[in-house]
């Protein structure tokens, strides 16, 4: 039997979950927000695949919509964070100087304050709408990424082809865009997937603490329900959302690892 390629498995899983998230309306049998008074805490059955929570909400539907929310928050906040990180990392790595140093000190300040606490406070201040959650997570995710991009840029700009481009009269902007940026792609892609995983985790943690958008069911909210349900035997309320969350996060972490292995010429 052919050995299964873990990158392929990850990519296939990502696509499957992506489709589930996209088609959440079709996949979910019930409206996840629908509460039914006398059908609370039903064990998994034909009617409710993953049972119901205390309020009678269908856990399976909730999980399906939760995947959508997780992917939405993960993808958009990671994309924003990485875009910002790339610009800042390139500028401060290649140009250096005062601007570069100031940008990096700002990143240091962000990195030195406990991130999660700041995120909670900011989300509370801005009200927990989905757009705010995405923005805030992006705002607190770029510094790490910017540091990594910067260190990559610092090493690439010493390469001989960058020096040659300069010697043949390339503009700084062109050097950054055509010589350096393409050569950081493996790092950027791997960072991106890693930050997606982090953002998904953060979003769930916010949901667990009650800071989630009402219209976007969060896996964390169901885990908050599970906190009480577990004491009256409702194991399904805990088990299914947490497994989903673990799969989501693990998948993106793996993807990050495998991508850099595959794309980086030094390791390949």
């Amino acid at each position: 039997m052919r050995k299964l390629n873990s990158l392929t498995v990850c990519v296939v899983l990502t696509f499957l979950l992506g489709i589930v998230g996209l088609l959440a309306d079709q996949v979910a049998p019930y409206d996840p927000l629908n509460t039914r008074m006398f059908r609370g805490l039903q064990p998994p059955s034909n009617v409710n695949l993953m049972g119901t929570d205390q309020l009678g909400r269908d856990v399976f539907s909730w999980v399906v919509y939760g995947i959508r929310t997780s992917l939405l928050v993960g993808l958009s906040s990671a994309t924003m964070a990485v875009a910002l990180a790339v610009i800042i990392g390139l500028l401060s790595g290649y140009k250096g100087g005062i601007i570069g140093n100031v940008l990096m000190r700002v990143a240091d300040v962000f990195l030195s304050i406990p991130r999660f606490m700041l995120i909670i406070v900011t989300v509370v201040l801005l009200s927990p709408r989905i757009s705010n959650i995405i923005l805030v997570i992006a705002m607190f995710s770029w510094p790490e990424a910017a540091r990594v991009v910067r260190s990559e840029v610092l090493s690439i700009k010493e390469r001989e082809y960058v020096m040659a481009a300069k010697a043949l009269g390339s503009r700084d902007l062109d050097i950054m865009i055509t010589e350096i940026l393409p050569n950081t792609t493996p790092t950027i892609l791997s960072l991106w997937t890693l930050i997606i995983a982090e953002a998904i985790l953060t979003e769930s943690a916010l949901g667990f603490l009650g800071l989630s958008d009402f219209n976007y069911p969060s896996l964390g909210v169901m885990l908050m329900m599970a906190k009480n349900a577990i004491f009256v035997g409702g194991w399904w309320v805990l088990l299914f959302p947490s497994i989903t969350l673990v799969i989501l996060i693990l998948m993106f972490n793996f993807l990050s690892d495998k991508l850099i292995e595959r794309l980086s010429p030094r390791l390949g």
Partner: protein
């Protein structure tokens, strides 16, 4: 003869752990139009530093302590980077020791040429590039243009790089150890090619090498450097047959010993 490039009392130092290490000390020389000048010296004698100061691509820890580099009367060291980049690649070009690592591995050769044209605001003329590659004896230039740098052999990559350096008709071509990374037969080909370049293209050349054989076979005049300073200047015959300084004599003798006394260089 009109001087094309004048280097006056150039002194360059590298900042290494807070201390200043002088790589080039008070070096002055002149290059006339249509002349080929060779700078010879052992590793660490500062010859590549001179090349990089002329094209303005010194590493960040290098400092030009004093001196002037006059190109057609303009001091290159006083130009702002935005002004200088119009001279680099268009008026003054450079080729390097290892052509493959000096080309961006993620861009096809065609795009590398295109970038160069665009950087200098010249319309991309692919026919001209093909023609030039043919003149530089690149077989199947169409295919070469669609290759990535790492797909080319060392000799082929050096030809491509020479084409890149010549495509905008520079007045001055600096060759920084262009043959050192190539094996002997390819070395001979490249030296022959550079000799043809000097005959066919109206371009002055500064050839930087540690190989006296390469230098004498191509240059009109040779500068000998040692430890950042200029030791001697003279025609190839003077250097080979009538060296004035002891360092030059020992340099020539060591090469002679290597070639077992063969004085007629086979390039």
């Amino acid at each position: 003869m009109k001087p094309l490039l004048e280097v006056r009392e150039l002194t360059v130092a590298y900042r290494v752990k807070g201390a200043m290490k002088y790589a080039v000390k008070d070096v002055s020389f002149t290059l006339n139009e249509d002349e080929v000048l060779a700078i010879v010296g052992e590793s660490g004698s500062g010859k590549s530093t001179i090349a990089l100061s002329i094209v303005g691509a010194l590493p960040e820890n290098a400092v030009v302590v004093r001196g002037k580099i006059l190109f057609r009367g303009i001091d290159l060291l006083k130009l702002r980077p935005s002004e200088r980049r119009y001279i680099n690649g268009k008026e003054i070009s450079i080729i390097f020791q290892d052509p493959i690592t000096h080309l961006n591995p993620l861009r096809k050769v065609r795009l590398i040429f295109k970038d160069l044209f665009e950087d200098h605001g010249v319309e991309f003329n692919i026919q001209g590039v093909l023609e030039l590659l043919r003149r530089l004896k690149v077989p199947d230039p169409q295919r070469v243009l669609e290759s990535y740098p790492f797909q080319l052999s060392g000799g082929m990559a050096q030809r491509v790089f020479i084409a890149l350096a010549l495509v905008l008709n520079p007045k001055l071509l600096i060759a920084d150890e262009p043959t050192s990374a190539l094996d002997l037969t390819i070395q001979a080909q490249v030296v022959r090619l550079l000799r043809e370049v000097r005959e066919n293209f109206r371009v002055s050349m500064i050839m930087i090498t540690h190989d006296i054989g390469v230098a004498t076979s191509i240059a009109d005049r040779i500068l000998v450097m040692y430890d950042g300073g200029l030791v001697e200047e003279g025609s190839p015959d003077d250097i080979l047959l009538r060296p004035k300084s002891r360092y030059t004599a020992s340099l020539v003798n060591s090469t002679k010993a290597l070639y077992k006394g063969v004085m007629s260089w086979t390039y």
